[in-house]
Amino acid sequence: MAKKTVSQKALLSGNEALAYGAYEAGLGVACAYPGTPSTEILETLAGFKDVDAQWSVNEKVAYEVALGAAVAGVRSLFACKHVGLNVAMDPLMTSSYTGVNAGFVIVVADDPGMHSSQNEQDTRWVAIYSKMPMLEPSSPAEAKQFIQEAFNLSERFDTPVMVRMTTRVSHTKEDVALGERRVPPKPAFERNAPKYVMVPGHAYQRHVLVEKRLVKLKALAERSRFNRVERGNGKLGFITSGVAYQYLKDVYPDASYLKLGMSYPFCDDKIKAFAKTVKKLFVVEELDPFLEEHVRTLGVKFTAKDPSFRIGELTPESMPQIVAGRAKREKKVAKRPPRLCAGCPHWASFAALKKMDAYVAGDIGCYTLASLPPTSALHSCLCMGAGVTWHEGWRRGAPDNKKIVGVVGDSTFVHSGVTGLINAAYNKAKGVILVLDNSTTAMTGGQQHPATGLTIRNEPTRKLILEDLCRACGADNVDVVDPMDVKAFAEILEKRVNEDALSVIVSRHPCRLLKR
């Protein structure tokens, strides 16, 4: 489990540091669905025997289980990537009203620059939308410190607390000091309908409390050391957060800084006071103009980055360009693109689809790489589960096209493809769904899921049988074929595509990277 250490120090990534910090804060239950750049948080937590860690079926489930554990009295954590948080938005929004009992922390890892994502949404807006506090570490050492404080804040203000990471903070490693685990006294688990039964009458009263809580949190933001002033020579001042702070410090060591560790609520008085101490003020942040738009409402004079910098990741090179008021200069460097591994079973599945000239509704996983040359045989990637539902939508929108096929991975099918299949059967859709079953969550590094029959700790558990599940959903035909058996696979695909039925073909061959 724990890494080897010297004088209680370890070289930890931001994600590992979060896990160690939560562990030391007495974390009891942790839930997540894998997603780059957040995956290592749960992988690290699973190494601690006294943490009840799980890969959940999807983010909504993970959020609810973890929140439930907090309500029942143990410190709990939910981790996800930015788009994963979208899946959990339903419980998230109302959990702002219910609040917690023991501390509950949401860790969300954004992916500026889309190293491994389908969009670069800026999760900081969710803090405003949900009226919940958000902390934003700028380094692994801060991540470890902030998550410990997040649990305290959660209990003190009876609210879930968000800790927003970015790829660059999650996947930077830093030497981090380790400490002892301290489990706080367990609060009582009590029935409390006005707090936990969110029917309109109760929810109205809770909303009143949420607004009061926000006022108190704002007062905290004003005096908190999360929002730190570093006095420089007063000529140049930066209001900044996250990894942008680190880039700026290298380039402008003599400037003044208001480094915001608490992204929300905003510390308006501190911002206004800081602005008065510097001659020229800049707001520098990655992605959206989140701080920029708020600071503008305060009547403070400042310069923000050119809008071209809202796209993609900031780098140390961006800093002088932003200060000079220039637009982003795109560097065109030819990087070797990722591709499916040699011998990957997906090659075989997509070779058959390419041969039949299929219109392929795709999904999210390694197989999304089949959209790239030389295969170029996957034609959509929207979100988890959309391989199944776009297949239905395309069939409804283009009823004469008999070459529409949906593909979805095994883990992705369990995550959110299954509801789409039930929908297709219920609404009398026809067509062919390929479940590309490589028996792991491959894209994120090979995590277990219900259909592998193993838990996050590789312990045997009840195994979900995908073909049985597909039959129960209402598919007319369910075949299980090895795509490496090229002839048999092509035959069954040809047969099913030409039938007037809803068919699932489980294309089953284990990932080459699986440890056997």
Partner: protein
Amino acid sequence: MKDTVYSITFGGIGGQGVLKASEICGWAALYAGYHIKKSEVHGMAQRGGSVESHLRFGKKVYSPLIVTGGADFLVCFHHDEQPRLKAFLKKDGVDLTDLLDKAQAAIDNPRCLNTALVGVLAPKLPIREECWMKAIETVFKPAVVAENKKVFLTGREIGRP
């Protein structure tokens, strides 16, 4: 400890052990008492794509990324990646790609290229031998520690001025 920050860019393609190499250096710097920031990218990059890792260590380090023209050393695992990565080097930075073929030729097990290249780099950094050895013990499974220590020493001979 001086205020100097050492910046090293490691690069290659997925599966070559680029991240492992920067991991060894990171732990060695940790054992030597430095503050460390090391950046890497996971996910898609593992699928045979370009992989790079930046390591910076010193008394106090801010940015985990090395600025263009800011690296003291370039440790490159693949000649194809060198033209792209050399932009990171300082004007007087040292490009160890020149020693890549020599390191490759000197080892029996191609999987140990990462440790060999760390060995090539080692004589140029202010980190004591015991720290390197401890780092290798930390990063590798016990079964392959001895082999990697040997490869490290082979690489170090190549890297000596």
